[in-house]
């Protein structure tokens, strides 16, 4: 113990004596350990930690598909049959998580919450007991019994002040009264990305409950004890097959069960592991840097070590001394790393919450802190073990004769060059991935959306259908609203659409053009459906290519046949060449006179940023029958094209909305540029993180290179003096040093390319790339690395060139 304290005291003194060295090592460790800890923390919280449910290994996501293989939720009748016939499940629950509900709060006015509407057995799936009250009882999904609500813990805390007497209180949701029956404990959420939610039983209009062709209900299940997932899968597949035989709407539908733990991370798991690979590369670069620094310092300490050996220190004693110094540095590095990880996570929080289902759960915990210390100690031990062995086995006679330095050994020289080549190679891999990701984001950002997102402001409008039941929502709400906002100063056009471009797709129907032969079975023939106002086309600048535009005076609800405009993608998909699209009809009703009439063709707009424009048909909202308007138009998006900065209009827009109807909550308004940006949140997070890690790797590699060249110049002062004595000019010396650096950079770059190709599968989890097509970009990155490396080496190289030969030789 005494010796250990002595070692520790001596280690502290050593670090105080070489503050530059100590600070560089601690900073290098802190940077590399910090990013590794931050990403490990994300992986720990998102992937490694079990889901916050009882026995999560029994919970499965039930993924049903259409005959053509598209994800297709269940219809209500199908779900009821599945639930009744399947025997392998303790609970097979249905839910719809795409609703928001508005609640009147005493302090905040109308506030909107995510509303998860589910079947009565929903909570049985998760096996989590409420902290207050109860959850749904069997039969409470039926009309008349379903006006009850279970609060999430966050909602209870934030809007009910954690009041334990909340049970049996009445709350108004979308204007309808519900009774609070329970509060879930902290940490319970489903779906995991629905925070601050309120859970209610299914509330839907009757048509949605009886039509087998309307697929809207997602399903999740708990497998009964004694059944394996394979048996459950076989059981449900059998039920699907039986339902397909019994009902034409269910024919060909298939089902696959996936553990919920895998399903929630199916998109992010690969990229997160790849991200871990990236930070491990940064960590490796940091370790190599520290090893290089320790080696360089070791050369300076050879005489000291030789003296210790000369006066009787054993090898083990020296090793322990050196490793104590290493551990001390590691602990300091770990402390800095944890601080950095905390900062990085804080900066990433906004991204994480939006990009990952469990993003909101991410926080530093004891496991992660222990991991950080372990990473730092292991990293530093890995880095210091070789220099420690080297120093502890020093030949005292040689070292003392050499007067403090045994000179540059060829082996050490090669080892340090190997360090630089390794660092450059790993940096190259990270630069390639970061470059590719940045290009993807840039490509999406510059993709032809079909409209110019600049100067467009959008805000969602949601209200209770009950509020406008029996009234004309178009005449009483939307028209006055559009009238007011279109007269606001700075507004050039105003419109409405049921699903905002870029933000969403999936509201679609099967299409058949009248007079055309039946389409082949299993061929996807869907078109997106939208309700719009005429101003929508003006706001988005969508051109009319054929026929006429929709018009409130022509497209009236009294007409028997509804009218639509379709986009170019629709024409390409459904209308054979030679036919006039604006004269076609869609046979979407049993009665021929009710078939939808296409009256015009407009330009394409992307519904989803990742895909080419989908076929779309647009109805004028004014044409909808009065009785359907309140239900179908209860969720719309108001869009404005403005002259100047769209955000400046937000206060006026809020006023206009509340002047028309003060009960409708004003949702956060976003510009279309922000919508595009938000849509790319995962890609932006990936590119942002890879960019940072690549930048960090580059900085560390350059610090390593700078350190190596500085050290070599210092160690080679005599050789440089000799060269100058033999006639080498300063430029030659500069050239010699830079040539060597260029060689190392070149070798590192080539190894980096090779590594990139070898790791293509791992990188493919984040991004696919074609090495041949990307050759130009790779070359550019190599050039960037070469220039950065040469700049880093320039100062020590210039120092080498400015050596006075006389001084160099005299020093010898």
């Amino acid at each position: 113990m005494n010796t250990l304290l002595q070692d520790l005291r001596y280690a502290l003194r050593q670090l105080r004596r070489a503050p530059g060295f100590a600070v560089t090592v601690v900073l290098t460790l802190a940077l590399s350990v910090g990013v590794a800890t931050a990403v490990f923390c994300v992986i720990d919280n998102v992937i490694l930690r079990p889901l916050p449910y009882a026995h999560p290994d029994r919970i499965v996501d039930v993924m049903s598909r259409s005959p053509s293989g598209y994800t297709q939720p269940a219809s209500w009748p199908s779900y009821k049959d599945e639930r009744a016939q399947a025997s392998a499940f303790a609970a097979l629950a249905g839910y719809a998580d795409y609703f928001d509900t508005t609640m009147e709060t005493p302090s905040n006015g109308p506030v909107e919450f995510p509303n998860v509407r589910s079947t009565d057995n929903f909570f049985q799936v998760f096996g989590v007991q409420p902290m207050l009250g109860r959850t749904f009882l069997p039969g409470e999904e039926q009309e008349g019994k379903n006006d009850i609500a279970v609060l999430s813990y966050e909602m209870w805390q934030n809007y009910f002040g954690g009041d334990r007497n909340v049970l049996n209180k009445a709350v108004k949701l979308d204007g309808q009264t519900y009774t609070v029956i329970g509060v879930m404990p902290a940490g319970f959420r489903f779906p995991l990305n629905r925070r601050n939610a309120i859970y209610t039983p299914i509330h839907l209009d009757r048509p949605w409950m009886i039509r087998r062709g309307d697929h809207w209900l997602r399903t999740v299940a708990r497998i009964r004890d004694g059944f394996t997932i394979e048996q459950a899968q076989a059981d449900l597949a059998h039920v699907f097959s039986d339902l397909g035989q019994a009902n034409s709407s269910d024919e060909g539908r298939t089902v696959r069960l996936q553990l919920l733990a895998e399903s929630v991370n199916s998109q992010s798991k690969g990229p997160l592991w790849t991200l871990l690979g990236a930070v491990l590369a940064v960590l490796a670069i940091g370790c190599v840097n520290v090893a290089g620094l320790l080696l360089a310092r070791g050369v300076k300490r050879e005489r000291e070590m030789a003296m210790r050996v000369a006066i009787g220190a054993g090898r083990i004693r020296l090793l322990r001394q050196l490793l104590t110094e290493g551990v001390l540095l590691a602990l300091l590095g770990a402390a800095g790393g944890v601080l950095l990880a905390w900062t990085v996570l804080d900066l990433m929080r906004a991204f994480l919450i939006h990009a990952l289902a469990r993003g909101a759960d991410i926080h530093l915990n004891w496991t992660v802190l222990a991991a950080a210390i372990a990473i730092a100690v292991c990293a530093n031990l890995a880095a210091s073990i070789f220099p420690a062995f080297h120093l502890s086995s020093i030949d005292p006679n040689r070292a003392l004769k050499a007067g403090g330095s045994a000179g540059v050994e060829r082996g050490q020289h090669r080892l340090r060059s190997g360090f630089v080549v390794t660092q450059v190679a790993l940096t190259m891999v990270l630069l390639v991935v970061a470059g590719l990701l940045l290009r993807v984001v840039s490509r999406y950002r510059h993709v032809d959306l079909g409209f110019d997102p600049a100067h467009i402001l959008s805000t969602g409008i949601d209200f209770s259908p009950a509020r406008y039941q029996g009234r004309d929502v178009v005449a009483d709400f939307y028209r006055p609203l559009l009238d007011r906002v279109s007269h606001l100063p700075g507004v050039r056009a105003a419109g409405l659409i049921s699903l905002l471009p870029i933000e969403n797709d999936g509201s679609n129907s099967d299409i058949h053009i009248a007079g055309q032969p039946p389409y082949p079975p299993n061929q996807e023939m869907l078109a997106e459906n939208r309700f719009v106002s005429t101003g929508y086309f003006d706001v988005f600048g969508i051109p009319l290519h054929r026929g006429r535009a929709l018009s409130p005076s022509l497209d009236r609800p009294e007409k028997i046949a509804p009218t639509v405009v379709v986009n170019d993608a629709f024409v390409k998909k459904f209308i054979p060449a030679g036919l006039d699209p604006a004269a076609q009809r869609i046979d979407d009703d049993d009665k021929q006179e009710k078939w939808t009439q296409i009256v015009g063709v407009v330009g394409n707009v992307r519904q989803n940023i990742y895909e080419a424009p989908l076929a779309e048909r647009d109805w004028l909202m004014d044409e909808l029958p009065l009785k359907d308007r309140a239900g179908l138009l209860s969720g719309m998006t108001l869009v404005l094209r403005t002259d100047g900065d769209p955000k400046l209009l937000i206060p006026a827009l809020r006023n206009a909305l509340h002047e028309v109807d003060p009960t409708v909550p004003f949702k956060t308004a976003s510009t279309m540029t922000e919508v595009v940006s938000e849509t790319l949140v995962f890609e932006r997070m990936e590119s942002w993180l890879f960019g940072i890690f690549a930048g960090l790797a580059l900085a560390l590699a350059m610090v390593g290179l700078y350190g190596l060249v500085s050290h070599e110049v210092e160690q080679s002062t005599r050789d440089i003096g000799v060269r100058m004595a033999l006639g080498a000019t300063r430029n030659r010396i500069l050239g010699m040093v830079l040539r060597r650096v260029a060689w190392m950079l070149g070798a590192g770059t080539v190894v980096g390319f090779a590594l990139t190709l070898v790791a293509r599968k791992l990188i493919g989890m984040v991004i696919y790339f074609d090495a041949q097509k990307e050759a130009g970009g790779f070359l550019l990155l190599a050039l960037l690395l070469l220039v950065a490396g040469l700049v880093a080496a320039l100062i020590p190289a210039a120092r080498a060139a400015s050596i006075e030969p006389m001084h160099a030789l005299r020093a010898e």
Partner: protein, 240 residues
């Protein structure tokens, strides 16, 4: 006045080192002439200025004052680049600690000064290296690294490196200082052979046995050239 045969002519050469407001007069008014083909030994006690003078002669250092003509050309105020060129073409160095570069083979070490000459074809360089190594009996060790050679062998390689460029003069700074007596004698014989073959040599040594190998001995004391008798007298005064 210098004759056509004069290689080096120094007049009133001074060198003062300034450190922490202390002036050290390393050389004070040196006059010296070395003719082509001459073998001069510079001797004197430690700190007398021998090595400083040799550094100035070898254009590794610049004088504080005085005149230095090499091949009848003034060289005391040349730029770094010009001095490098002249060092490369006119001067061959032999150091006490050999100063071979550990990363390079024997062949590469000897070739090094030739690589600094623009336009010399590789074949010519290789020929000169081989010839220089044969002159010092080290051709058979061409592929070896310095660390694989004995001290005597390393110094012979250093001599070959100095010879390879066919310089006007060889400057040797205590060339036997790091060698045992046997190897020291061998290097002295090698220098004597080179002198017989026509080389001009200026050697710094503090060992009178080796100084005797030279044609002429220049004695330095406290930065001045003195006669042998004066040196003896001054040394006795200091020792007393």
């Amino acid at each position: 006045m210098a004759s056509n045969n004069t290689l080096i002519e120094i007049e009133d050469l001074t060198k003062i080192f300034y450190t922490d407001e202390v002036e050290t007069h390393a050389l004070s008014g040196i006059h010296l002439t070395i003719s082509r083909g001459e073998y001069v030994a510079m001797s004197g006690p430690s700190g007398c200025g021998k090595s400083t003078l040799l550094s100035i002669l070898g254009l590794l250092d610049t004088p504080t004052g005085g005149r230095y003509l090499l091949n009848n050309n003034p060289v005391e105020n040349l730029s770094f680049g010009d001095r490098s060129r002249i060092r490369n073409q006119e001067i061959g160095f032999i150091f006490q600690s050999f100063n071979l570069i550990g990363d390079l083979t024997v062949e590469e070490n000897v070739e090094l000064p030739l690589t600094y000459r623009a336009g010399m074809p590789s074949a010519e360089r290789k020929g000169r290296v081989k010839e220089a190594l044969e002159r010092v009996n080290m051709a058979h060790r061409m592929r070896h690294y310095p660390a694989q050679l004995s001290g005597g062998q390393q110094q012979r390689v250093a001599v070959a490196r100095a010879l390879a460029g066919s310089p006007s003069i060889l400057l040797a700074d205590e060339p036997t200082g790091n060698l045992d007596s046997k190897n020291g004698e061998a290097v002295m014989h090698l220098l004597a052979d080179l002198h017989r073959e026509g080389s001009t040599i200026c050697m710094v040594t503090h060992d009178p046995r080796f100084a005797k190998h030279a044609q002429r001995e220049v004695h330095l004391f406290d930065g001045k050239v003195v006669s042998e008798d004066e040196l003896k007298k001054l040394t006795e005064e200091v020792e007393a």
